[in-house]
């Protein structure tokens, strides 16, 4: 099955089985491996992308059902949050980190000065097993430098 997918401003023609997940298509077909798959069933947030600016779990989103514009970590590499994460040491193994940044980017776009409480509420769907959470909170609090 073929359909069109807009990712980071580029339009792709996607040929994938009907049941293919957006995460699978991004990684395996488009080579956008910045989006990670850690649980593949919508529980951990590692695969988070934005669809029209709204965070979405790409591992449980059907690729062919996507109607909006997809933004992945590859589309956010120049976002000030990247520097903020580096400065705050908000990364250890880094496997969950791209998903954290994508979630955080959606938060600060909607709410440029989130409180700690708002950060904790918004980011609670992104699991980090290394426990970088205090650093992530600090990075988002000071994302504009």
């Amino acid at each position: 099955m073929a359909s069109e997918l807009i990712v980071n401003g580029h339009t792709y023609e996607v040929r994938a089985p009907v049941g293919a997940s957006l995460a699978h298509v991004l990684r395996e077909e488009l080579g956008l491996t910045g989006t990670k798959i850690a649980c593949n069933e919508g529980h951990c947030g590692a695969c988070t992308v934005q669809i029209d600016g709204v965070p979405a779990l790409s591992c449980i989103t059907l690729a062919h059902a996507v109607r909006g514009e997809v933004t992945t970590i590859e589309g956010l590499r120049d976002h000030p949050l990247v520097d903020a994460f580096v400065k705050a040491d908000a990364v250890q193994c880094g496997f969950c980190t791209p998903g954290q940044v994508v979630s955080a980017a959606a938060l600060v776009a909607a709410n440029p000065e989130p409180t700690s409480e708002e950060i904790r509420h918004h980011m609670a769907g992104n699991i980090c097993r290394c426990g970088t959470y205090p650093r992530i909170e600090e990075a988002i609090l000071h994302w504009r430098g």
Partner: protein
């Protein structure tokens, strides 16, 4: 000079006597305190590329023509394959090869746990491989299952002989004690749940096997594969440049790699074999459950005279039995100690090392017991710990121990308890608890590093170690930069490939910095010596008046100050090559890490809800290399420990042995919303007896004391003794109920 020594080698609390070729550690330690680069905050060198999702993990590797493997797992907790037929699977769409028991190491006819690997398939896609597993026809002969570890001990079903230890006369000391406290403590199985699941890509090129794998030990994987396959070790190349967490579970090759190697051989194509999350939570290892029956006897003045414990490790079908009794033997000065540890063999998935295996569990039991003793004696728990401070480990001196300084740092935090308790309301009770930390973390030889300095005046550390996410690249770069006198941004680190650089330590047992750091410093010193020699000849000065500071070659009189790149530009394509080795550990000394946590909690006595409000941590791990990274390690260990204490538990069906918590909604790890305020400090004091660096490891220490500190804070808040992890609401309410009954019994009878 190299010399051959007989020495004790320790990894994760397991000791073995080995012959080792070691090189002398000729360098004096640096002065105490923060230096130019070492001992200061350093941003992770690879942070930008990790944050942007640019680095390639094993999960991101796709090779041309690569197939996907999948593992068939036993549906029974104990059974034998009577008959297996792979033919239907082999003819399934996309399938290229299928193998069964005996075809690859780890695929076995007898399955000792539900999920044990039996067969494997390689297909064009992972989905096709998984679909084909359904078509493997197996006739199973079911065998008896044992799931209760105490029943296993009764029947003497052990993974290894029981381990007994005694010093002094425990029975007599206990009989003569003024006060005796006993308790049974239980810890549950918890799961590593690294974000990147266990996986590898195997590829044969001629008779060489290339293995890309998410691992904590590229050399261990190399040797294990070479041994099992019966091929020379240099015919196996193991690569792990970036990996998504291990926490102790990724120290070996795994059945998925052996199956992948065999499937790759049969198909002539690379094979990736990646565990799903549900497989990860069944088959990738766990921190085993323990049952600890503990006793302590003390004199009225608080002197501990007897400590005893019977420890049952519910190991699983295979695995090793960690030193759960270690803290009891080592933490306090007590002349009479008796411990016995049983490794129960039961039909559950095998344990694997998990961040301070044994000591996390044993510290929970011991440090709760000590607080219960303090309550019974009506003495300050911190004073009780000071009073029973150990000055040696069973007669062996410590290479360094600054636990008393940790206690001193923590005193102000401990003094907050009166104010914290005063916040209590009718339903929410507040309290403060503490626990001490003891663990290994001294590392050891062998480990080697090379350094090359090119004509651009930049240095590259080359060593086949791995960075499992702890910031090893950055720490090694800091150490090299400090010794060379280079700015940090002039040093790069190349690692993660057995064919690129010399042998390096496992990244487990908190050993990376103490094992690798001294080797990197030695290599940097060797390179710097050569740079000075060249400078002396070029500038017609004596070597002893020359130094390199902040990237400049300088003379003692200040007349010369020229950038290193000016000195080395004459090299063109020539390179300065430095080489360094990790020297021996001090003989006859006990190299250990120490610390204390002070935790503030709030407990809702109506619902059993527990909130950790604040955690203070003080650790003594020798010299700190990266103060920023060290703080992150402590925070991460505390957060993982809070998960172990309050919400994480792997459940199995007591009838079938099936694991019930295989998804991340069933197995509840901490989220950002569960994180308390965390404050940490270090006794940044180099261990003067340990290597040219004086640093110990920090990966594991911060997870060791957290459970006991939380439980002790709960007792302080509510009077309830919690004896079981995790402290679920049910366990909390049970403990509150028991405390109420105890209070009633203890109350004077109404007249």
């Amino acid at each position: 000079m190299a010399r051959l020594i007989r020495t004790e080698k320790e990894v994760e609390g397991r000791f073995e006597e080995v012959w080792l070729v070691v090189e002398e550690d000729a360098l004096d330690q640096w002065p105490v305190g923060p230096l130019t680069t070492v001992g200061r905050d350093a941003e992770r060198k690879d942070a930008p590329e990790r944050v942007r999702g640019e680095v390639r993990y094993t999960a991101d590797i796709t090779l041309p023509g690569m197939l996907h493997g999948a593992i068939l797992r036993s549906p029974h907790a104990h059974a034998r394959v009577a008959k297996i037929d792979l033919s239907r699977a082999l003819s399934a769409p996309g399938v290229h090869a299928a193998i069964g028991p005996g075809d690859a190491h780890g695929l076995e006819e007898e399955a000792g746990w539900l999920g044990a690997p039996v067969a494997a398939v390689a297909a064009d896609t992972a989905a096709q491989a998984r679909a084909a597993l359904e078509l493997v026809d197996v006739e199973w002969e079911e065998l008896e299952i044992v799931l209760d570890p105490e029943a296993a001990v009764e029947r003497e079903l052990f993974t290894a002989e029981p381990t007994r230890y005694e010093r002094g006369d425990f029975d007599r000391a206990l009989a003569e004690a003024d006060v005796v406290v006993e308790g049974t403590y239980r810890t549950s199985v918890v799961l590593h749940n690294s974000m990147e699941t266990h996986q590898s890509v195997c590829e044969w090129v001629g008779d060489t096997l290339n293995v890309y794998i998410s691992t904590q030990y590229v050399w261990g994987v190399r040797d294990e594969i070479a041994t099992e396959l019966g091929i020379p070790r240099d015919k196996v190349r193991v690569v792990c440049e970036y990996m998504g967490g291990g926490f102790g579970s990724k120290n070996d090759a795994g059945e998925y790699t052996f199956a992948g190697a065999e499937l790759a051989k049969r198909t002539g194509r690379p094979v990736k074999c990646a565990l799903t999350r549900r497989e990860e939570n069944t088959a990738a290892g766990n921190r085993n459950a323990t049952i600890q029956k503990l006793k302590v006897g003390a004199r009225g003045d608080g002197t501990i005279v007897a400590l005893g414990g019977e420890f049952v490790n519910a190991v699983g079908w295979t695995g090793w039995s960690a030193m759960t009794e270690g803290p009891m033997q080592m933490l306090y000065a007590c002349e009479n100690v008796r411990t016995v540890r049983y490794g129960a063999q039961i039909n559950t998935p095998p344990m694997k090392a998990f961040r301070a295996p044994g000591f996390v569990e044993g510290t929970f039991g011991l440090e709760c017991l000590i607080d219960e003793l303090a309550a019974k004696l009506d003495v300050d728990p911190l004073e009780l710990r000071r009073k029973n401070y150990a000055d040696s480990n069973d007669g062996k001196p410590f290479s360094s121990k600054n636990l008393m300084e940790c206690y001193a740092l923590a005193q102000a935090q401990w003094d907050r308890r009166h104010d914290v308790r005063a916040r209590s309301t009718d339903t929410w009770k507040h309290g403060v608890g503490m626990a001490s930390q003891i663990w290994f973390g001294g590392g050891g030889p062998p480990s080697y590093a090379w350094i090359r300095v090119g004509s651009d005046g930049r240095a590259q550390v080359v060593t086949a170690m791995q960075d499992i996410g702890t910031g090893s690249r950055t720490a090694m770069a800091q150490i090299a930069a400090e010794e060379l006198g280079f700015p940090l941004d002039r040093v790069e680190v190349s690692l993660g490939d057995t064919s690129r650089g010399p042998f390096a330590s496992i990244s487990a047992g908190s050993s990376t910095i103490p094992s690798m750091g001294p080797a990197v410093r030695a290599a940097a010193a060797d390179a710097k010596r050569q740079l000075i020699e060249i400078a002396a000849q070029r500038y017609h000065l004596e070597e002893r008046v020359l130094d390199i500071v902040d990237g400049n070659v300088v003379s003692a009189d200040g007349n010369l100050s020229t950038p290193v790149e000016k000195l080395v530009e004459v090299l063109e394509d020539a390179q300065i090559l430095g080489k360094g080795a990790r020297g021996p550990n001090p003989t006859g000394m006990s190299v250990l890490t120490f610390g204390i946590h002070v935790v503030e909690v709030a407990v809702d006595i109506e619902t059993g809800e527990i909130v950790v409000d604040r955690v203070y941590a003080a650790h003594d791990v020798g010299r700190i290399v990266n103060t920023l990274g060290a703080r992150s390690q402590v925070e991460g260990g505390i957060i993982q420990g809070i998960g172990h204490t309050l919400s994480e538990v792997r459940l199995h069906d007591p009838a079938s042995g099936r694991i019930l918590t295989t998804t991340l909604d069933a197995y509840r790890m901490p989220t950002i919303a569960d994180v308390p305020e965390i404050v940490c400090e270090f006794v940044d004091q180099p261990d003067e007896h340990l290597t040219n660096l004086g640093s110990k490891g920090l990966g594991e220490p911060p997870i060791v004391p957290i459970a006991a500190a939380i439980a002790n804070a709960i007792r302080d808040a509510t009077g309830a003794d919690v004896h079981e992890l995790p402290i679920s609401r049910e366990e909390m309410l049970r403990a509150l109920e028991a405390a109420k009954k105890k209070e009633k019994r203890g109350a004077p009878a109404a007249v």
